[in-house]
Symmetry: C2
Subunit: 581 residues, 2 copies
């Protein structure tokens, strides 16, 4: 392809709304172009990279025997009504009505449709196992579409679904997908982590995410030196053993005026009630946080969460615990409705379904029997000291809502956790029988008995992968594509207006094409200086840059490696071999 004809304008300035490198560079280098918030067009360069990602994904899915199909994006409401996701998706779902008034939606994911299709065609255990996939456009009306194609409202995903007769089959389908995903992400070439995505109730493998490790990632995850990795929602806390409390003094309420925060409270404790062995710390206090849950049916319920005072409640961890309910703030109106709560001094005595308020009270797993706490006394300006869990109060259960911090122990004992950020690129999930039950997908087993099929669901962010690779593989000058994803094999530049040089570059262009290379030829003459061409080449990021310039009269061209910056003078006769090497 000749640059003089390529539909491309490289831009000098970052787009105004761009914050992350991939967004800036993909727009500046002419790969994508914004149409509306979270909605992008693919320009010729971008579409070539996208096609390369699709090819890799397709090859690896085919390799595990998954079969490609394609569902529509525009879907009827009914199946999503049956699964309750028509409601559960809330404002994230694009809904519309057709000319006859039938409710429809733009598919955010297709579990329901695949379940119905298999039900439609298959009826026997002999038909299983089965894995189907599609590479297809999906829609989610994100509240905050951001970072270009990294989090769009229209995007391309590979989603696949496995169908098995029993748990062992599901386990095997899951393992095959996991292995395919490892190969896909190895080929995409960015650093990634495979993290537990739930608490590991089913042996830790019921749900895992593939995260591209990136400082600009939206997801925080943890990893340990011993190889444990999980997203923060999935980290479980190692509960300490219960402590003896026979020697503990009785709880005693004390005046702690003007101490509505943990900081002011700890300062006051150390001044008014100094301890002999060590000073009071935030970790000695028990902070009780109130929120409102909004359930999918629209009902609202208050919830109290007790966490050690040195930790915040982590919104994502809390949301994961209470899902599908949504978390809303506990505002002035709610306090007014519960006069038993003294704001800033709320204590366990006022909480719990057995208490006067009747508010459900869940505590951090660290709040085990025998632990001693300073916490609210339910009296303005007062706290209670030496309140012993299991002696003086109990909660309605535990909740994994406290923040995870660097240095916390990994749940599997593999060492202290470090925090990192990542971009969710893949998710594999043992769905089990949820959709099969709701939509009645049953097959006859070997004994002629109807059994419910068990399913897995597996996704790869295909358009997002283009951004994730760009996020990983770039430098200050521009993009640096790995060979398998690059829009072209070679970026050929003619540097100079001399007739011999121009004719030579044309010859090199023809030769390279003849040898099967996909070449972007910067043949622009006139006002476009070699400097502009070099800058564009660095920005566009084709892995190998060949420059035909002054050296051509001596039979030499320059080959530059975009990634390392290394330049080599190569005799023309050796060029093909050099590029192949």
């Amino acid at each position: 392809m000749r640059m003089s004809r390529l539909f491309l304008r490289t831009l000098r300035d970052d787009p105004a709304d761009a914050e992350v490198p991939s967004h800036k560079l993909l727009v500046r280098a002419g790969y994508v172009r914004r149409v509306a918030p979270g909605i992008y067009s693919w320009l010729p360069l971008g579409l070539k990279v996208l096609a390369n990602v699709e090819r890799i994904v397709r090859e690896e899915m085919d390799a595990i025997g998954a079969q490609e199909v394609r569902f529509p994006s525009l879907l009827p409401r009914e199946p999503y009504e049956a699964s309750n996701r028509w409601t559960e998706y809330g404002p994230n779902l694009f809904r519309l009505a057709d000319r006859k008034g039938n409710d429809m939606l733009l598919g955010p994911t297709h579990e329901e449709m695949f379940t119905l299709l298999v039900k439609d065609l298959y009826s026997s255990y002999k038909d299983l196992p089965l894995s189907l996939y599609q590479i297809q456009t999906k829609y989610r009306d994100e509240a905050r579409p951001r970072a270009g194609i990294l989090r769009g409202r229209e995007f391309i995903m590979k989603d696949s679904y496995s169908f098995d007769i029993d748990d062992a089959g599901l386990e095997e389908s899951y393992r095959a997908h996991r292995a395919a995903y490892v190969r896909i992400f190895d080929r995409l070439g960015f650093e990634y982590a495979i993290v537990h995505a739930d608490s590991g109730a089913m042996g830790g493998s019921a749900s895992e995410e593939f995260l591209a490790v990136s400082p600009t990632g939206e997801d925080t995850f943890v990893r340990s030196p011993g190889g444990y990795a999980a997203n923060v929602e999935a980290v479980t806390t190692i509960a300490p053993d219960p402590l003896p409390y026979d020697d503990a003094p009785a709880a005693h309420a004390e005046q702690t005026p003007d101490t509505p925060t943990i900081e002011t409270l700890v300062a006051h404790l150390n001044e008014a009630f100094p301890r002999d062995d060590r000073p009071w710390e935030a970790a000695d206090t028990l902070k009780n946080v109130l929120v409102m849950l909004r359930h999918p049916d629209g009902t609202r319920e208050p919830l109290a969460i007790g966490v050690p005072g040195d930790r915040e409640v982590d919104a994502k961890r809390l949301e994961a615990q209470v899902s599908p309910a949504e978390v809303e703030p506990f505002g002035e109106a709610e306090f007014a409705a519960h006069p038993g709560l003294v704001k800033g001094y709320i204590g366990p005595a006022a909480l719990g379904t057995e208490s006067d308020t009747g508010i459900r009270y869940l505590t951090d797993p660290r709040v085990v029997t025998g632990t001693r706490w300073v916490t609210g006394a339910n009296i303005q300006g007062s706290h209670v000291i030496d309140l012993v869990a299991g002696r003086d109060f109990t909660s309605d259960g535990t909740i994994e809502a406290a923040e995870v911090r660097a240095g916390d122990p990994a749940p599997d004992g593999s060492g202290p956790l470090e925090l990192a950020r990542g971009i969710e690129m893949g998710h594999i999930f043992q769905l089990g029988r949820k959709y099969a039950e709701v939509l009645d997908l049953k097959v006859l087993d070997e004994n002629g008995k109807l059994v419910t099929v068990t399913m897995g669901s597996y996704g790869v962010g295909v358009s997002r992968a283009v951004a994730a690779v760009a996020e990983y593989a770039h430098d200050d000058a521009g993009l640096v594509w790995p060979k398998e994803l690059a829009p072209f094999d070679v970026h050929l530049i003619v540097a100079g207006k001399d007739e011999t040089v121009v004719a030579g570059a044309e010859q090199v262009y023809d030769d390279l094409i003849g040898e099967g290379f996909d070449v972007l030829f910067d043949d622009r003459l006139g006002k476009v200086s070699p400097g502009v061409k070099f800058k564009d080449a660095e920005l566009i990021g084709v892995p190998t840059i060949v420059v035909v310039g002054k050296g051509f009269v001596d039979g030499v061209v320059e080959v530059k490696d975009r990634a390392t910056g290394e330049r080599t003078d190569v005799p023309l006769a050796d060029l093909i071999a050099h590029l192949r090497g």
Copy 2:
């Protein structure tokens, strides 16, 4: 691919809603599956054929230097508001609002978006000519989705757009696209006709359609022995020369009781007013038909159309003439609002913008000065005879709304027309400056002056092509794919349970794959008889069927040509060469 693993169930019965062969066969053979009216999923076999069509289209578009991009399907309202198509599309447009209440649409075609993209990136005549294309999912909320994927509400199109600085450039871009379309449709392998799609004001090439000739096609078109072809909307009528009328008798109204139809009128004329030279015919009468036009802005306007009594008003031709207005019936309420009209006996005296009713009156081009007509006298039970056009009445103009009939002369004098039916598969169109003007796409010309770009728009129905080929290439037993579109190269059948035969078929399968053939291997054992396998093979329609059966012990397999039915015994050693031959 082994049939035992292929996600496929062939069906014995036609789907209940299927009327045309392609719909029946594509569903029965497991190529597509209905999700909602006009909305289909692609199963593995169908997706392979679809990919083959896409490949052909892509190759031919690339060959003329068009560059592939991809726009989103979910689009903002504003550009379509600017072009007025947000309104003009009426109920055919899927509209929705996002979570913030912004109006959006599912793109039915992308003229606006391409115009804006080029405006966004390009600014000089040096950037032109430019042709861009996409292969992409489109949406139209058809009132009557029908025939499976032949007329769906979600479908795949290739749409391309050319951008030129002047008319000569547009003409050249148009010719390049036309040539590419000829190659595409030649490769798809069905019979097609290239028809004028408008009245040819710009030399007859401003708009042409590619129709797959098919008795089940929705579009009627005409063609002449001399090579003229047009859709019925585009056929123009050869107006006769004006006739002298000096000798014509004066018009005279006559009692014609109970003659509200042309038939009853002609019978009455021949009985009560017999002519010496020849009997009265329907062609001697002038029929005046009333309709209501609904304009895009919602206003309604009555329109009267005068056509010779032997022809009906053709709804499609009328719609094409009055577009973007829509045609609605002229009902009782409208007659009540125009007491000057006597239903069944309406004549020119009551029509025309100069008349008392003020109703616009357009007549067939055959109604030239000097022609003599029997027509309504605007009195119940009365007609006027010898009413001479140009002497006794004039209309507000002519309209091409009368039906076209077999035997009518081709407008270019190339002989009598015959009628045929077709499926619209492609449309090429010299748009001109319509969208560029509305969206302000200008570039600097050689003199530094801003000029408006001129555009062409070109479409191919990609998913529809799968159905059109099926419609053309099938027989009673099933589908008959041409080689370039077939889901597999070879359909291999093992006929027999004998161990040697089964092992032999497995060996042939491996050999064929090793030689690069894409093979569907019907390896099903157990209850699936050879008869069922043969039936499935005929239904699925892979061009070459190889049967490994009894002959295998003598080193012979049977090769069957799906299209001709011809069977050949081929020695194993010659199989590859035979298949390549």
